[in-house]
Symmetry: C2
Subunit: 891 residues, 2 copies
Amino acid sequence: MAKWVYSFGGGTADGGSELRNLLGGKGANLGEMCKIGTPVPPGFTVTTEVCTYYYENGETYPGELKDQVRSAVTKLEDIMECKFNSTEMPLLLSVRSGARASMPGMMDTVLNLGLNAETVEAIAKATGDERFAYDSYRRFIQMYCNVVLDIDHHNFEAILEAHKAKHGYKLDTEMTGDDLKIMVKDYEAKVVEMAGAPFPQDPWEQLWGSIGAVFGSWMNPRACTYRRLHSLPDHWGTAVNVQAMVFGNMGEDCATGVCFTRNPATGENAYYGEYLINAQGEDVVAGIRTPQPLSLAEKETAQTDLPSLEEVMPSLYKELCDIREHLEEHYTDMQDMEFTIQQNKLWMLQTRTGKRTAAAALRIAVEMKEEGLIDEKEAVRRVDPGALDQLLHPTLDPKAERTTLTKGLAASPGAATGKAVFSASDAESWVERGEKVMLCRIETSPDDIGGMHVAEGILTSRGGMTSHAAVVARGMGTPCVSGAGDLEIDYAAKTMKIAGETISEGDVITIDGSSGELFLGSVATIQPELTGDFGKLMTWVDGIRTMKVRTNAETPLDAATAIKFGAEGIGLCRTEHMFFDPKRIIHVREMIVAKTEEKRRAALDKLLPYQREDFAELFRIMDGLPVTIRLLDPPLHEFLPHTDADYQEVAEAAGITVDEIKTRAASLHEFNPMLGHRGCRLGVAYPEITEMQARAIFEAACIVAGEGKKVLPEVMIPLVALTAEYDMLKIVVDDAAKAVFAEKGSEVEYMVGTMIEVPRAAFVADKIAEGAEFFSFGTNDLTQMGLGLSRDDAGNFLKIYLDKGVMEVDPFVSIDEEGVGELVRIAAEKGRSTRPDIKLGICGEHGGDPASIHFCQSVGLTYVSCSPYRVPIARLAAAQAALGVKGEQNA
Amino acid sequence: MAKWVYSFGGGTADGGSELRNLLGGKGANLGEMCKIGTPVPPGFTVTTEVCTYYYENGETYPGELKDQVRSAVTKLEDIMECKFNSTEMPLLLSVRSGARASMPGMMDTVLNLGLNAETVEAIAKATGDERFAYDSYRRFIQMYCNVVLDIDHHNFEAILEAHKAKHGYKLDTEMTGDDLKIMVKDYEAKVVEMAGAPFPQDPWEQLWGSIGAVFGSWMNPRACTYRRLHSLPDHWGTAVNVQAMVFGNMGEDCATGVCFTRNPATGENAYYGEYLINAQGEDVVAGIRTPQPLSLAEKETAQTDLPSLEEVMPSLYKELCDIREHLEEHYTDMQDMEFTIQQNKLWMLQTRTGKRTAAAALRIAVEMKEEGLIDEKEAVRRVDPGALDQLLHPTLDPKAERTTLTKGLAASPGAATGKAVFSASDAESWVERGEKVMLCRIETSPDDIGGMHVAEGILTSRGGMTSHAAVVARGMGTPCVSGAGDLEIDYAAKTMKIAGETISEGDVITIDGSSGELFLGSVATIQPELTGDFGKLMTWVDGIRTMKVRTNAETPLDAATAIKFGAEGIGLCRTEHMFFDPKRIIHVREMIVAKTEEKRRAALDKLLPYQREDFAELFRIMDGLPVTIRLLDPPLHEFLPHTDADYQEVAEAAGITVDEIKTRAASLHEFNPMLGHRGCRLGVAYPEITEMQARAIFEAACIVAGEGKKVLPEVMIPLVALTAEYDMLKIVVDDAAKAVFAEKGSEVEYMVGTMIEVPRAAFVADKIAEGAEFFSFGTNDLTQMGLGLSRDDAGNFLKIYLDKGVMEVDPFVSIDEEGVGELVRIAAEKGRSTRPDIKLGICGEHGGDPASIHFCQSVGLTYVSCSPYRVPIARLAAAQAALGVKGEQNA
């Protein structure tokens, strides 16, 4: 017979931590705590398999469940020495959810279950405290109605307030047992009014109602949203934990509290917690009464007069300290615990791995390693690479006041404040005269690069996590909030409207790129402190990981920043980013409008010195590290003039008419530029472009090698779909190398390879590898093509997909392993089948995403490449991947 | 030792037809003819492997070649009983190319090789005909210089003309031996002038020069273009055939000619050929002298006074007739032969399978089967499915005069004449008043459908073979020339400029969609005659093929046409094509601008009756045949209003402002609509659209089933990339079915399945197949995404790709087997692994392409679906695929 119910309590348990998936986090921990002798109120866990069964079978239960619950309750009654629904001292129960991963506050809980018109009297008699009994009953009715019967708690709070008003009470505590007795009648009447039936008096009906409500709450919108945000699958399900109630509100010898074994904000190795005398757990969480500090030390820090538990109940405090040590030692991680003291007896209600800030995670991991509690590997496992991001950027001062206007996507972390400007050129001119600006755009384009570079932060109303704004901002380490869809930006008026406010050019605003929030005015920020702990952890990280970490960089600043963050080379230098400089763009445009190869070559000759100097500078900075340079990638129309003045300028430079240029521009128009004339297709059509770029690379390489530096250029041909494309352009590159080496009388080693970013390329990777010495997976484009999903357009419906659960993660954030990953796997295998030592890297946005980095490790990539600010994150994720830890585990 | 040279002659040969790939078509046939006793001038073949070696080794030859050629020449000398470079009767040679597939006139030939200042005298002495000897030498110098030394033949023709003028000659034949002797001196002087060296006198130098020139000509632009047009790979290479010269120009007892064993234009089983007395082969081909008919019968048909060979040389004519019969029997196919009569001895220079028109191919195949020469299967193999297309459309009368303006792409076959109009609405209004129009557009869009339907033909200046215009035109069977890039269309002026002409609205023009040509004015056309032969062949075809053939159709006319052509169901009904009707588009637009589900449903309710009636009509026509209906596919912005009046109308209908609609329209804009919010993504976002369409399908099915017809609806969900998308929409469809069946009190069988058109879908096809009963491969989109190639934008650079040989075939015309084919294969295998009897079809444009149909057979598809006019082609191609014949073999 299937076992659907697991009991715990009385120093024993049917299961512990080893059954986490089945019992959920809370149930497993309760069992585990029982096993190691922690005083836990006895109870039982209805497994997550019941939840799965429930949803797969039209919200019904397995046949055996009823009997198993009944006998588990009997076991409980035996341990607690009181009976469910007894008119002596009745057993009361709590019913709580408990999923595999913690989802705090997301699902429903019912306390004080088992109370009814008779048992409440029994409690009153047994405790001699009518007020406590009826207060418990009142709370139970309200909670049960809210959770099970869907009657909003305001209905009951209104009754409470009316009663207090009538008697002139200010505080709940002023109410007497009699008051509460009367009020319970009003509550019961309200139930009849709202539900059309009296409040259920049968405790068994109450129990099944509550279990059903917990399972039901697994699919409530809050819970679904939480899971989506934390990438937890719907099919895991929740367990239900039914436990004997213990009361922190039976009098002054009672208390309840929550505590952390270390400080979850700073990571300091000190007890950190709060409690309340004569209260139920919800009172601490609800924030109605001000909780008191646990220890004297905390009391001092908090500069409060409220008495600490250490003073009030010293022996129980001591017991709690012992348990703290015992639990942390047992779980070898910082614990988040809930306890209740009932009539001077301490009960531990829950322990779980405590959530912590990035700073705390780092400090705890490093200190636990130094305390000998965990080893280096475990310390590395303990820090969430995603959270590390927070440590590398300025953050909003948590104490600062703020007026939130809206929330978009947390596109590039860090906080920034500046004056709103609505165009890139305004950004540049404002900054020139000494202002700090926030660039506000509906969306950004490569034309905006100048303005984006000088802005403190970037705000867009359109575009997703991998929109142009987001990608470029992350690359530059500039805070960015993208896709704030509520913003109505009016370029003409230079204003934007949001939440009733109109922000005009020059108005100060603040964004938090880590949360996606937009604030009115200035909000104080604090600078990151990369303490010694960060350095220590990174040393351990580098000792563990097997994949290299490179950076995507094209400017000297980016390259230098990346080196500072530990980059081991450039994995992607996008040469076209070098084309937008005003001194160059004119020649690029001349090249585009040229009608003959001769004129095209003339324009390219003017670009050559610029490109050569760009590459030389990068080679100098990366001295001895490999530099992968991608040949021109975007369609030519991205470089076209926009204004009439621009057209005129190009016409003069190229010696043709504006009309001719406009005709050329029209002929370059594309319906789907993403799938258009770009990448290696440009080189196939105009090999002289490839030749110029290759020449610039090799000339620069020879120059820098001549300066005594080591140069390792890797020339990368983009958007290859056909073996013949690659082979044709490789010849152009090799010929340029030969020519340059002959002219310079010196040679440098170099590699030629390709991006794998078109699905077809994966299938012919074995043939491409005959001529290609490396592959770099362009998983941005591979995702766009593999999923048929335009990155620039998907924003709107991806949100719907995530909301409806059709997709679990944004495939532009974490690699889609089933589809895009399969293409990567096929290409990697085929590439190695031809060339066993082929260098394999990834240079899409996924290269900086921990989950994707795990995938990269699993398919045996040589390196990942990401934006400079994500290099430390990638290093940590790569180490965790080498250890076989999923990046999200500690989130 | 590798054998590079194969000899033939004297009743024996080293190899024949079985070595076609090695010896090339001509070489293999010469060998074969020798083997079966045909009188062939002896010679030898330098194999295609030498050509391959030549190009792979920097244009050098294998080491053993020289000796092998030398000994083959010796063999020749023995058979012909004369010596190369002999001053008695010297052996003269011809050197010709000969590739695996025939490439007539594409590569170089050298005749009379071996002549020099000494041997020419020997020839003069031996034949007693100085004039003949020097004329041969003159011709040889000219040809050799042209082919080997790259000296244009005009240089020599100028000398000839000057000489004739000087002597007052009108005809070449008036020149005496002395004249020619003098002229040869002038020729030799010209060679020194142009080449800087004297004409080579060493016959061996001449031979190697000529062999090199033939191999070199394999890569000349003409040959490359020819191969591209005929999908022949570059790596095949050509062989070189060196053969003893025989002379048709040694006197009046000499002749030369070409003949076909059957009429290549009509297929009539009658000798068809031309000859000239006292001439060399080139004279017949060059068209300088008017060739004479071979037989008396031909003489009568041609109504000429020129004497036939039958009259002039009756016994040789008889011998030729015997050879004709012998060869056709041996090769069991119509032969194209070249012969020479030297001093009353008949020599066969060549035989090969003769090219023929589509009509001839059909007639010959059917008649040969009926003559018992071949069986049904062979008859089916003999007709090129692509050529069949010619038989199904009106064609230009070959006798009609014409003025060609330009040439675009042969986008949809058939000829058409009409008055030029420059907008779809003009087309409609002109046709309403009784005009026949030619719709001329830069490119077409779904908005133009109305105008495209009424036009006689469609002409566009942009777009490729699978542009909107081309696809729709082929679907409608309307002739179309697309991508005529030279056209300058000016919508405002309602004119187009081309080749110095300005065509204004109303001017009559003609297009030939089978050749891509555009003509000024009217050109007479002839209607297709589907003779009994067509019907006979199709019966055999249907008995052989294993794949079903369906059609892509959404209108009753298309469906009925397809049935007439033998379609076995509808493989793709694109429901959105039904949305553009003026009565409906307003509701479509109301639906798009609706701000709430309720309003969207209200608009959809208005569309429902139209869709229901559409589907009912198709079900009636297809009575008993399956109908696959694809749910709404294109992005919603395709349906947006274009004019202010349209905007106003929608605003009134939807009860919102024009500004609100414009805002909505702007929000729907997409950068890459191909990868945007379309296909099943619409249904995921707005399930009510799917629900309406499913409801319309099932209501229609119930209605038509109620009329006693058999209805087999197959509901197809487009653009599925994720299993969850399919599963979600399948539920919507099934729920609609359940609801309709309950309302109607009756049920119809139906299937739900999906398009496989996103690469990712192939990888999860096993999971999708858990819920999908059929897959239809949308290879248009699969090609776009798999190759990262926008169909609408690729036109320009695909041409460059084909020209440069980076691609061998347009992947939108014939499926890219390496990439897209691999995705199809993976999906088919995965689909069958879950559901062994899964129905697999193809509904992209490739479904009507013979080469792609072969691929479909190889991966085991159940059916192909194509536009109505291509159904017979697909039937034939499917039969050939079942026989394992490549469709292009008989081209």
